[in-house]
């Protein structure tokens, strides 16, 4: 039985308000990022902020259209939209316009469209439609694997096609949909291990010249695995204490004697000591899954070195270059790490209260690359300081948590799963984009939702969000 409600009253205006704030702040910062004295009107259409203002108006119209469409349209056409997106991705990978080494743009007259951005919508819809009917079966490992496989395919297809362009950053976004599977029953250990292996993969390549970081990271993963599987604080503390006591001791020894060890050796030694200690402890008291933990450790190390070895010896030069571009190592021809350094300088120079609106020197004068698109967060950091960036991050967090709350109040599985897809996509965009500008993540070019300049991404995010708000608004129509 269906109950009709007034859509405009049921729309979650809190989310819309947060959306509005983020879009407006985004526009203001794009204005600041490309500001110059000759073009001061915010509606100057020759400048990016002028164009962004147009994109925003168009996005509002799109949002209204989405609200007015019946939810059945999306549930019914979910697969159709998904397949259409895949076709577009396939086309763009071969016939698209190449920008910065990736074929990700369609040029339609004067308008340029990036199908990658819209593919998220189709994928979320298709995933929701499939998972609405097929749940994850947890009986045995194999039944689970069989039930998850189609979902993985739904996620993997667009990911692979985007990887073909190659736009590794955008492909990486789909990894976030693991949150959806987790929420729908995928055991947490897979989420955990998947995350760790992803991290080992990325960082072992990123830190191939400074292997001590890799050892340190593997140590933390060891500690995390221990905590996760054993769920006792004592062993975790023991592992941490042994590691750091040894590290301090070696450093002191280094300082006061002629003994001179490489940092790599030091960390390796401490890791060995820490693992041995935990292993010995298992003889005296029962440590749950200790052999799993140590097995995982060995797999991390092996995987890390395997990746590095494969990278150095198993790949052709052009393939290596692709991966290095993905890792941000060769993002810029001037020198490795130039961008990330400039980005950190821009944010860091903002100080506590920032330099003030339009007073940023680093972003305005192009020291930061792509300052109106992927590195827009630098402008926030430089001109608004710690205060401003905290407010923006807090807004994003509020936005994400609000969406999460909306997801959980859905009555239909379809809209909940779709909502989780939406929230995961937003989260990973914010996390990767902001992390990248602060030097916490490799430079992969993906936009900051609602902030970054660009029509395609703004529209895609708007549609993505408002489809969910549309579902939310009519959640009461479905009576259980």
């Amino acid at each position: 039985m269906i109950r009709r409600v007034n859509i405009w009253q049921e729309i979650d205006w809190i989310t819309v308000l947060l959306y509005g704030l983020l879009v407006i702040f985004g526009l203001v910062n794009i204005y600041a990022a490309v500001y110059d004295d000759r073009h001061q009107s915010i509606m100057d259409l020759s400048m990016r902020y002028g164009k962004q203002a147009i994109w925003i108006l168009a996005a509002l119209i799109l949002a209204m259209i989405v609200i007015m469409v019946d939810t059945k349209f999306f549930t019914f056409f979910a697969y159709f939209i998904y397949v259409l997106t895949l076709l577009l991705l396939l086309l763009v990978a071969f016939f698209g316009k190449e920008v910065n080494g990736a074929r990700s743009w369609f040029s339609l007259g004067g308008l340029q469209v990036q199908p990658t951005e819209f593919a998220k919508i189709g994928t979320c819809l298709a995933l929701a439609k499939y998972m609405n009917v097929h749940s994850i079966k947890l009986k045995t490992f194999w039944t689970m694997l069989r039930s998850v496989l189609p979902m993985a395919v739904i996620i993997g297809l667009p990911m692979g096609l985007i990887g073909l362009q190659p736009d590794m950053g955008s492909a990486l976004v789909y990894v976030a949909l693991v949150f959806v599977l987790y929420r729908e029953g995928l055991p947490g250990i897979y989420l955990f291990c998947g995350f760790l292996f992803g991290a080992v993969f990325v960082f072992s390549l990123l830190w191939s010249e400074t292997p001590q970081y890799m050892i340190m990271m593997i140590f933390y993963f060891f500690v995390l695995s221990l905590a996760f599987l054993n769920r006792k604080i004592v062993e975790v503390l023991a592992a941490l204490i042994v590691y750091y006591v040894f590290l301090i001791a070696i450093n002191l020894w280094n300082k006061y004697t002629s003994f001179d060890a490489s940092p790599y050796f030091k960390h390796l030694f401490c890791l060995g000591a820490s693992v041995t200690t935990v292993a010995c402890m298992s003889f005296f008291k029962k440590i749950l899954h200790i052999w799993w933990v140590i097995g995982l450790l060995i797999v991390y190390v092996g995987f890390g070195y395997g990746v590095t070895y494969f990278f150095d010896h198993g790949l052709e030069k052009h393939q290596r270059d692709r991966i290095e571009i993905f890792l941000g190592k060769k993002y810029d021809p001037k020198k490795v790490g130039y961008n990330i350094e400039q980005s950190k300088i821009a944010i860091g120079s903002g100080g506590f209260a920032g330099k003030g609106f339009l007073q940023g020197t680093q972003t305005k004068y192009n020291f930061v690359p792509e300052q109106s698109t992927d590195f827009i967060f630098c402008t926030v950091g430089e001109e608004w300081g710690f205060l401003g960036s905290s407010v923006i991050l807090a807004l994003f967090l509020a936005f994400l948590l609000r969406l999460l709350a909306l997801c959980e109040r859905q009555r239909s599985t379809f809209s909940r799963i779709y909502g989780y897809g939406v929230v995961s996509v937003f989260f990973i965009h914010v996390a990767i984009n902001a992390g990248m500008t602060m030097g916490l993540f490799p430079v992969v070019g993906i936009p900051l939702p609602f902030f970054s300049y660009g029509g395609s991404s703004l529209w895609a995010f708007t549609i993505l969000l408002f489809i969910f708000l549309r579902f939310d608004a009519s959640r009461m129509e479905l009576l259980r």
């Binding site: 004295d37 400039q342 860091g348 100080g351 004068y365 710690f386 807090a394 948590l401």
Partner: protein, 605 residues
């Protein structure tokens, strides 16, 4: 209820966790770590230094002696340079392609090279090269020309006095943080002594630049900019015509001329030969010429007039006469005989043929050695004093009151202090109580360990001209914007000889010129008072020395002339001084034959 509903908290927890980490990270790089703020300044600020022109140096009559000329540095910005016609650029600069390549390599290897900052490719291009380059500069993207000023010397004279200007080295930068690499600094002479006033104050304009180092505008509309302050002009005490003449007359000799205005201590002329054209050490030419001058065995860079210590010879008899009078051991009427010399025990001092016996005036007129050996013994063996040591101390105090034996503390650096041996020196050399007046008798006639600089000697002449006092000699009489020069130059320094005793010595000096050893220098209508000196030295023939002042009443000029290894004082030093006095006091020279003889002299064969 969905069995996995509680997982929403895990997901929310992950979101919150990640955002918290980011907030900590932001707090660290924005608030705690200062590194990024400094980097941002280095990135975005470009300081462009405004170099002021150095102050001019004028002569006492207002003629510009040291001026400035524009020089042009060719800079390029490695990031902005587009391919260009190298052949044309080379031909404009007058170099080969290989030299250009070499220049680029040098710049690239230099310390502090950055592809984002302007680099000096060529410095100090001449105006002519600049004019040719300026027309074509639009073709060379990324090249700029920056104007600097170099010295220009209007006359090829007084190089030692002016000193020279060069680029600062690391020790200058360490001593005074005002200086930065590429700045110029006065290295010797007036340029060094008055560096602070001459250099002015650099200004700096701070611009904001973008990533390509393009200037986007002044920082805060120039609120932090400082304008350059021009160097202060100086009026020196030098008389350019007299200096010119002195250098001309001295060109065939090694030696020096120092002329002082007794009534003010102003140095009218200061010549040290062999000298060099100061223009040789300007700009690019200095790199080539400096080593040549430095290796020249005749030491053209050495300022003899200020630093060289010579035995004063007979000119020192004037001081001994004054001391004798002051000590009341001789009187104007005191006479001593002379039989072509003076002998006492094993000591024998020669003298030339002259009437005998002579009184004080006559002894100065004829420069009698015997007279001063006797007078000196009377001074040192004076029973008033307990010992030779005490008497010598008293004598030495008289001598040093003329400024001899120490730095006169003039305003030119590089001054020498000369030497008046101390009691300790003799005690060490001969042993305590093992020396007497006879042991050090050579001091009587200005020989022995005694050493005076030409400046000391000129100052001594000024003391006698002033009858008992002097002003510290100096070369700058006015600094633009300042009412007075340093107070020490306007204070009289009194000698410890009473003014009354100078008259008789002055009479003797007048006789020496009118009818004595220096008659060669006598001029009609000008009463010159002078004393010749012929100083024995270990470097060969005697130095020819003459000190004098004129006119006798109200003296206007006091001069010391040294001609190294020139023989008798009368041979070279006297005519040179005489001609300078004539030029200075009358503005013309009447004695062609004398001038020609000096201009054609060739004594160092």
């Amino acid at each position: 209820m969905n069995p996995f509903a509680s997982r929403r908290y895990i997901v929310a927890g992950i979101f919150i966790f990640v955002i918290m980490i980011y907030l900590f990270r932001l707090f660290y790089i924005q608030v705690i770590d200062n590194k990024y703020k400094l980097s941002a300044e280095n990135n975005a600020y470009r300081r462009i230094t405004q170099y002021p022109a150095r102050g001019l140096i004028l002569d006492r009559n207002g003629k510009i002696m040291v001026g400035n000329q524009a020089a042009f540095d060719l800079l390029y910005n490695p990031m902005d340079v587009k391919p260009y016609d190298t052949t044309e650029l080379c031909s404009i600069l007058g170099i080969t392609k290989d030299q250009l390549k070499y220049k680029y390599r040098r710049v690239k290897l230099s310390k502090g090279y950055s592809a984002y900052k302007d680099q000096v490719l060529f410095s100090q291009l001449s105006e002519k090269t600049y004019a040719a380059l300026q027309e074509k500069l639009y073709k060379y993207q990324g090249f700029y020309v920056q104007e600097r000023t170099l010295r220009r010397y209007q006359y090829p004279i007084a190089a030692h006095l002016f000193g020279y200007v060069g680029e600062v080295d690391s020790s200058h930068i360490k001593k005074d943080p005002y200086y930065q690499i590429g700045d110029y600094i006065g290295i010797s002479g007036i340029e060094k002594a008055y560096e602070k006033q001459l250099r002015g104050q650099k200004g700096v304009h701070i611009y904001l630049v973008d990533v390509h180092n393009r200037i986007m505008g002044p920082l805060n509309n120039g609120a932090y900019d400082t304008t350059a302050v021009l160097g202060k002009d100086m009026i020196s005490t030098i008389d350019v015509d007299l200096q010119n003449l002195a250098e001309k007359l001295m060109k065939n000799f090694r030696g020096s001329v120092v002329a002082i205005e007794p009534s003010s201590g102003e140095i009218l002329t200061l010549v040290s030969t062999p000298g060099y054209d100061p223009n040789l050490l300007v700009g690019q030419a200095r790199k080539k010429n400096f080593p040549i001058l430095q290796l020249d065995p005749s030491l053209p860079l050495y300022n003899r007039a200020l630093a060289a210590s010579y035995p004063p010879g007979s000119t020192f008899k004037l001081i001994n006469a004054l001391i004798g009078l002051q000590e009341n051991v001789i009187f104007p009427g005191t006479t001593f005989g002379c039989n072509q010399g003076w002998a006492m025990g094993p000591i024998h001092v020669n003298c030339h043929v002259h009437p005998s016996p002579l009184d004080l005036k006559g002894s100065i007129q004829n420069s009698c050695n015997a007279y001063y050996c006797n007078a000196f013994r009377k001074i040192i063996d004076n029973t008033k004093y307990q010992s030779t040591e005490d008497a010598y101390k008293a004598w030495r105090n008289y001598v040093t009151s003329f400024g001899i034996g120490s730095y006169l503390n003039s305003d030119i650096i590089d001054e020498g202090r000369g030497n008046v041996p101390s009691v300790n020196y003799y005690n060490k050399y001969f042993g305590k109580n093992h020396w007497r007046s006879l042991t050090i008798i050579s001091l009587a006639i200005g020989q022995g360990e005694l050493g005076l600089t030409p400046l000391h000697l000129a100052n001594q002449a000024a003391c006698i001209a002033n009858k008992g006092y002097y002003y510290i000699p100096h070369v700058i009489k006015k600094i633009q914007g300042l009412d007075t020069i340093n107070k020490r130059f306007t204070e009289r320094k009194y000698t410890s000889i009473d003014s009354q005793y100078y008259n008789i010595v002055t009479e003797g000096m007048a006789l020496a010129v009118s009818a004595g050893t220096a008659t060669y220098g006598n001029i009609k209508d000008i009463a010159i008072c002078g004393k010749t000196g012929t100083a024995q030295n270990p470097h060969g023939k005697e130095h020819s020395i003459f000190i004098c002042f004129a006119p006798k009443d109200h003296p206007k000029i006091a001069i010391s002339v040294f001609v190294e290894n020139g023989g008798f004082g009368a041979t070279w030093a006297v005519p040179i001084a005489s001609m300078l006095i004539e030029q200075y006091l009358t503005g013309k020279m009447t004695r062609q034959a004398m001038e020609e003889r000096i201009l054609n002299a060739d004594i160092y064969k």
